[in-house]
């Protein structure tokens, strides 16, 4: 069924399709409509789930962890400061190995108050052990929510589906919602091997000394590494069902490309228009869109960049005191490669500044010049 819906409502419909059983959330702009719609669905009986009203995002995540530990499929959504407040519980969810799925609507952190798009909120949660998927349009948001439950439940790790404030959250566009019967076949009910059970009581996550903690961490890392292939196989299975295939990265017009741009999220769609303009001018430029940030698609990126001469990474985020976060990660992934391209970083669109296609065209033209040596460029900043 095709509907013209906003990114926020797309998340709600994805959650409904996945037959989530427990939702605990606290409202924050621009995420509010996600939970508004879900609470409506629960109240109308369209979605058989418990909706738990909580007093903070920290509690929302705590409730989701508890629900998931009993074997219920649990979901929450948040943004910016709300995600920051959840931070402690994000680590907890990973350690407890509960496959909670969350939608985070990328929004910058205050002060000054700013409700617009920026990836620094979710990327600040890089080391919490959550899988992270950055979506480029509403269709991908819906598809990724459904896939995230399957992937996360297979590896017993929580996952974050990330969309852009306003560029997705408040933008209505056509979304194809797959038939419920198909989704049910794709995503069977969650039934974990280990769960809280009053008939077989155990303590979960109790005090564990150095003799075992170390191995438990190793197991999380192992699950993360294994999730790479699982994301691919689940993406393919979903593709067989809907015709829409997904991997960890997407290559756009990279054939024969000497220069590559790297982008993620909503900006990547605008970048595709920029690539089309450049290709019409016979420039050998392609785009790599990073969809999965955790696990980081090292091998895919190495392969995709093996023939490139120069790469420009566009970050709608910054690790203050260093540089763009995707930029750092990509450089580190390529460090041990014998042949590696020159890589330059571009900070763009912080706090919801529009990143226009001609700005992206200029980035590609800049890095193609041999004289270009600037490691970090602030695109369109009044400096």
């Amino acid at each position: 069924m095709k509907k013209v819906i906003t990114g926020n409502h797309t998340v709600s419909f994805g959650v409904k399709s996945a037959r989530v059983e427990v939702i605990a959330a606290y409202p924050i702009t621009p995420q509010t409509e996600v939970v508004e719609k879900l609470s409506e669905m629960v109240a109308d009986g369209e979605l058989k789930a418990r909706f738990i009203k909580v007093e903070s995002e920290h509690s929302a995540m705590a409730a989701c962890i508890g629900a998931s530990a009993t074997g219920a499929r649990a979901f929450t959504a948040t943004s910016s400061q709300g995600l920051a407040l959840m931070h402690e519980m994000l680590h907890w969810a990973t350690g407890a190995r509960v496959p909670v799925v969350m939608a985070n609507i990328n929004r910058s952190l205050g002060p000054p108050w700013n409700i617009w798009s920026e990836q620094t909120d979710s990327l600040s949660q890089r080391d919490t052990g959550w899988l992270q998927f950055y979506c480029e349009n509403n269709q991908e948001i819906l598809d990724t929510i459904i896939q995230a439950f399957k992937i996360c439940e297979k590896v017993s790790l929580p996952g974050m589906v990330v969309l852009d404030a306003f560029y997705h959250s408040h933008t209505a566009e056509p979304v194809d919602i797959p038939d419920q019967k198909l989704v049910d076949r794709f995503l069977p009910p969650y039934n974990p091997e280990y769960k809280l059970d009053i008939n077989d009581p155990h303590t979960f996550g109790g005090l564990t000394g150095p003799e075992y903690y170390y191995e438990l961490r190793y197991k999380i890392q192992k699950a993360m590494v294994e999730s790479v292939d699982i994301i691919k196989s689940v993406g393919k299975e979903y593709g067989n069902m809907t015709g829409r295939n997904y991997g960890l990265i997407e290559e756009y017009k990279t054939t024969g490309a000497k220069q590559l741009l790297v982008a993620s999220g909503a900006m990547a769609e605008t970048a595709k228009d920029a690539i089309d303009i450049l290709r019409k001018k016979n420039k050998k430029v392609g785009l790599l869109r990073v969809r999965a940030f955790r696990p980081f698609p090292k091998e895919d990126l190495k392969k995709a960049m093996s023939k490139a001469e120069v790469v420009g990474v566009i970050d709608r985020n910054i690790s203050l005191g260093n540089e763009g976060i995707f930029f750092q990660e990509i450089k580190s992934a390529l460090y041990n490669e014998k042949r590696r391209p020159a890589i330059y970083g571009f900070i763009a669109g912080l706090g919801g500044r529009d990143v226009l296609e001609d700005e992206i065209v200029r980035i590609a033209e800049d890095i193609s010049k041999r004289s270009f040596k600037k490691e970090i460029t602030w695109v369109g900043a009044k400096i």
Binding site: H170, T270, D354
Partner: protein, 181 residues
């Protein structure tokens, strides 16, 4: 690609109108996109909403800078907002007002349609007497003036997308379509 900007005030249904138009064009097989000005909205404050209609997939994710059409839901906004900003040379402006188009100085540079959508909205008891909600009526007029959207897909979209006074809204759009010229 056709780009449309809606100017209204919070509560007048500009955002809803932009979505209804997108959903209607989607029914006609178009690729569509609809979004409000990215900001904080309040009742009474100026609101801007955008709709893109295209025969090919829309990937642009930035506000509309050079519209083909501008739809003004509230003529009092004309005092503070330059609705001709970025408007393409051959662009049209549609204003919800009783005042004839020759009263607007920009009618010399652009094609301007004026239409008393508020009267039709009032007749169908949409909104209050002092503040009728004319978004669906104005969409009906837009359909007639521009031909960018068929009245049948528009009324279908209204019937599906408007939860309150659905029938009245459909009737208002149809009446506006018939009366507009």
């Amino acid at each position: 690609m056709k780009e449309i900007i809606f100017y209204g005030r919070g509560g007048q249904g500009a955002v809803i109108a932009s979505r209804l138009l997108a959903a209607a064009a989607f029914k006609e097989g178009k690729s569509v996109q609809s979004f409000p000005f990215f900001g904080v909205e309040r009742r009474g404050a100026p609101v801007t909403a955008y709709t893109r209609l295209s025969d090919t997939k829309i990937r642009k994710r930035v506000p509309i800078k050079t519209p083909d059409y501008v739809i003004v839901l509230d003529p009092t906004l004309l005092e503070n907002i330059d609705v001709t900003k970025g408007l393409k040379k051959e662009g049209h402006i549609i204003i919800n007002t009783k005042v004839p188009q020759s009263n607007f100085p920009f009618s010399k540079r652009f094609k301007v349609f004026t239409f008393d959508a508020a009267a039709i909205a009032s007749k169908h008891k949409l909104g209050s007497k002092s503040a009728p909600i004319a978004n669906t009526s104005l969409l009906g007029a837009f359909s007639k003036f521009t031909g960018e959207i068929g009245i049948d897909s528009l009324t279908e979209s209204i019937a599906e997308g408007v939860a309150v006074k659905t029938e009245e809204n459909v009737k208002a759009a149809k009446e506006a379509y018939e009366k507009a010229r």
